[in-house]
């Protein structure tokens, strides 16, 4: 099997990319290097965007991270297309400025790697009312069809404090269908499920036993969190950051804190950086144990489900003992951690995690020899490497499809550059590959926790607060489900002017329909479980 290498080995050094850009466009597009922050800023007119997009993605191997929209009163709109690649290549920010009355940008979703921007464009169209010319399918994405046209909640003119109360959803709504064949019918699933499951709607188009394809519909859980955050103090927004996805709370709260720290120029003390890693890996370990439980449950392997559920609950209890809260809420704060962990707690954490790693390893061995279980997972829900590259997928799902993409290695934060760990890769991209990646990553997380606690630096746990200052910064963290990008802009008084999160579930749900094509009906829960994504995180 040939493997596409999405991130080529030849690394564009910070100065090189500026020269490359300036020589290629002969001064028509100007790149400049913001050396301190490691950012290459390229100013682009709207019509130049497609060329730049293709050059960055196809020619120099950059991956698209996120699209940030900033509306400034009186001057117009700024669209910030953010691209990333492994260090020391700089971040690339492509800045497209629109005049006050311009509301259209060319769409890039039809270009090479364009699908990675597809959902971003649809979201911006809904929430900001901008149009992406050439996009085949705008409208009714975040805001469902009952939401009135022309009301765009992320615009400055929209007051979030007013209860907007759109009209009652239309009870007669029917999802559109595509398949036309004798005997074909559509099977709707959700948004309410028969078990404990998050709200989303899946329309399975089928001609009998075989499902031709799946049309997902998300954003049932849109809580407008990014809008609610505006105008609130950092301490208050931190509570929101913890609740994008309760099962990845620490990672997102850390992303938010890192962005605030970058704006204010806070240097986090070494002990806090180390402990942040230990806790983030504890969260990843618990999250993966939960995801493995979900996969075992979807195949109705009852004893394995119980065994992994015991591990998940043990890790929840361990989190509560270490950090007071079972989902690690309230521990991280801008500048470091809210409180220190005693040596005794650290020893307890190290011992408990070592025990869990042994138990997980034993279950891994047993699952490998459970042929009835493997039959359900192998060659089910396949995501090819090409698709994963083109959709810009992240996290365990991308890594199970042969893409070595991990923010902890690409853009090391906390102190991950000082830790010895590997990023497990599988090639097949099926349910079993994703399960193996989860097991290997859980192993690595346990190893990182051990390393961190063996050489835990002494000293302060928080740098305290610096003076408030206006500014914006982007932070990237590897959440349990993959790369999360947190863009924060603060006012001078320390209130949040703009908060934009690109969570891994948003990125990865976009590729889900490609894994749910041409499969037997009974495999649907297995494909869903092997993705293990969070709708709360996606919908925000």
């Amino acid at each position: 099997m040939t493997v596409l290498e999405p991130l080529p080995d030849e690394r564009a050094l910070p100065a090189q990319i500026v020269d490359l850009c300036n020589s290629r466009w002969r001064g028509e597009i100007v790149a400049r290097l913001d050396d301190g922050a490691g950012i290459c800023r390229i100013e682009s007119r709207p019509e130049q965007l497609p060329q730049l997009w293709e050059w960055l993605g196809r020619d120099i191997g950059y991956a698209f991270a996120t699209l940030i929209v900033e509306e400034s009163p009186g001057t117009g709109t700024l669209l910030l297309y953010v691209f990333y690649k492994d260090a020391p290549s700089p971040w690339v920010y492509v800045e497209v400025r629109l005049d006050l009355h311009a509301r259209a940008v060319p769409s890039v979703s039809g270009l090479v790697n364009g699908p990675s921007a597809d959902w971003h464009e649809r979201e911006v169209e809904d929430l900001f009312g901008l149009t992406f010319e050439g996009h085949p399918r705008l409208g009714e994405f975040v805001l469902h069809e009952d939401w009135p046209d022309g009301v765009n909640p992320m615009r400055r003119s929209f007051d979030a404090r007013q209860r907007f109360a759109p009209p009652e959803p239309n009870a007669k709504w029917q999802p559109p269908t595509i398949v036309v064949a004798p005997g074909s019918f559509a099977m709707p699933i959700g948004p309410v499920f028969s078990d404990f499951a998050e709200s989303a709607h899946f329309l399975l188009e089928t001609v009998g036993e075989d499902v031709i394809h799946t049309i997902p519909r998300f954003f049932y859980k849109y809580r407008g969190m990014e809008k609610i955050a505006e105008g609130q103090a950092v301490d208050r927004v931190l509570l929101l950051a913890e609740r994008f996805s309760g099962t990845s709370a620490f990672a997102h709260a850390m992303g938010f804190c890192q962005a605030v720290e970058a704006i204010l120029g806070i240097e986090v003390p070494p002990r806090a950086r180390a402990l942040r890693m230990a806790i983030a890996e504890l969260e990843r370990l618990r999250h993966h144990a939960g995801a493995i439980t979900g996969i075992c449950n979807s195949t109705a392997l009852a004893v394995a489900t119980s065994q992994t559920a015991l591990i998940e609950e043990d890790l929840l209890r361990l989190s509560c003992e270490i950090a007071r809260h079972r989902y690690l809420f309230g521990l991280v704060s801008p500048g470091g951690l809210s409180y220190d962990l005693s040596d005794e707690l650290c020893r307890h954490l190290a011992e408990a995690v070592a025990g869990v790693a042994v138990r997980l390893g034993g279950l891994d061995q047993m699952l490998r020899y459970s042929s009835s279980f493997l039959d359900r997972l192998e060659e089910v829900g396949i995501i090819s490497t090409e698709v994963a590259v083109s959709y810009g997928l992240v996290g365990p799902i991308a890594r199970a499809s042969g893409i070595k993409r991990d923010i902890r290695k690409l853009r090391p934060y906390a102190a991950y550059d000082a830790i010895d760990f590997s990023v497990p890769i599988e090639q097949e991209g099926d349910g079993y590959a994703r399960l193996r990646v989860l097991f290997r990553e859980a192993e690595q997380s346990a190893s990182i926790i051990r390393q961190v606690l063996m050489s835990l630096p002494e000293g302060e746990i928080s740098a305290g607060r610096a003076a408030w200052r206006a500014g914006g910064a982007l932070a990237a963290v590897e959440a349990p489900l993959g790369a999360a990008f947190h863009w924060v802009r603060l006012h001078e008084d320390g209130t949040v002017a703009r908060y934009r999160v690109t969570p891994p579930s948003f990125t990865n749900w976009h590729g889900f329909h490609l894994a749910a094509e041409n499969f037997a009906f009974q495999d649907f829960p297995i494909i869903l479980a092997s993705f293990g994504l969070s709708n709360a995180e996606c919908d925000r």
């Binding site: 007051d159 959803p169 809580r223 969190m225 609740r243 015991l310 809210s338």
Partner: protein
């Protein structure tokens, strides 16, 4: 060939003794603050100001806690922040909403102490759902208490709802409720489902389940631990007494009102 049966037997019984005996294992609950006598008015105001969720209320003889708003941020925790109010361990948090008359909520004997449950995620962050899912794991095992998840609302006695009710979930929530046969009971789990929590009432969500369908039992917590959710189910089946929604300062506390 992996021998799962042997593995299961070797693990033995891990299930909690709750509700016959209290569960004392560490880490089953994050705990929550309790009201405290604070004499200095200034200190009182500082505590009220410190709470980002508006859960600390000033009383004549100290501060009381409104559990409908408390999100366990630990910012008032004496043990963490150095000053503040003491925290209780415990998990029996389920209570009747203030306006409900308990006598009206009594379930008929027809239920036979066994209840079937339907769950709706109405925009929760995922932590409440994760905790609700845990009541099915071997540690908590709700089946032994006669509680079962049902695949259809037509068979459901109890509707568990988490989340502040996002706009798109209003209709599915109402349709699920209407599809359930009477008598039926609604349990709102987590502060989001009670008061909107950090999401509040906003342009995109209703700020709680009660604005959409009638609520019979609430479980405060962010998220409420599995044992608190079990307590709510036992409360609906009248096998456990309710807790209180406020934690007043000690002088006014009656023993039954606190967990």
């Amino acid at each position: 060939m992996a021998n799962w049966v042997l593995r299961g037997l070797r693990t033995g019984i891990r299930t909690t003794a709750y509700p016959q005996r209290a569960e004392l294992a560490p880490g089953v609950s994050p705990g929550r603050p309790r009201g405290a006598p604070v004499t200095a008015a200034q200190e009182c105001d500082a505590l009220v100001a410190r709470c980002p969720a508006g859960a600390i209320m000033r009383r004549e003889n100290g501060v009381a806690i409104d559990y409908r708003n408390c999100i366990h941020c630990f910012r008032c925790d004496k043990a963490v922040a150095g000053s503040g109010v003491p925290w209780d361990a415990g998990y029996e948090w389920a209570a009747y909403p203030a306006e409900t008359d308990a006598a009206l909520r009594r379930l008929e004997r027809a239920f036979g102490r066994s209840l079937h449950i339907r769950f709706v995620d109405a925009g929760a962050c995922g932590a409440c759902m994760s905790e609700a899912r845990q009541i099915n794991n071997p540690y908590y095992n709700m089946h032994r208490l006669g509680f079962f998840i049902t695949p259809t609302p037509r068979n459901a006695d109890i509707l568990l709802v988490a989340g502040p009710v996002s706009d798109a979930m209003r209709l599915p929530l109402r349709k699920t409720y209407e599809a359930m046969p009477t008598p039926k009971r609604v349990v709102a789990i987590g502060v989001c489902a009670i008061s909107g929590g950090v999401f509040g009432p906003s342009f995109a969500s209703s700020g709680g389940v009660a604005g959409i369908i009638p609520v019979d039992v609430v479980v405060p917590g962010c998220p409420p631990p599995p044992l608190a959710i079990l307590h709510a189910l036992l409360l609906v089946a009248e096998r456990k007494p309710p807790s209180s929604l406020t934690g007043p300062p000690p002088e006014q506390t009656d023993a039954a009102g606190r967990s």
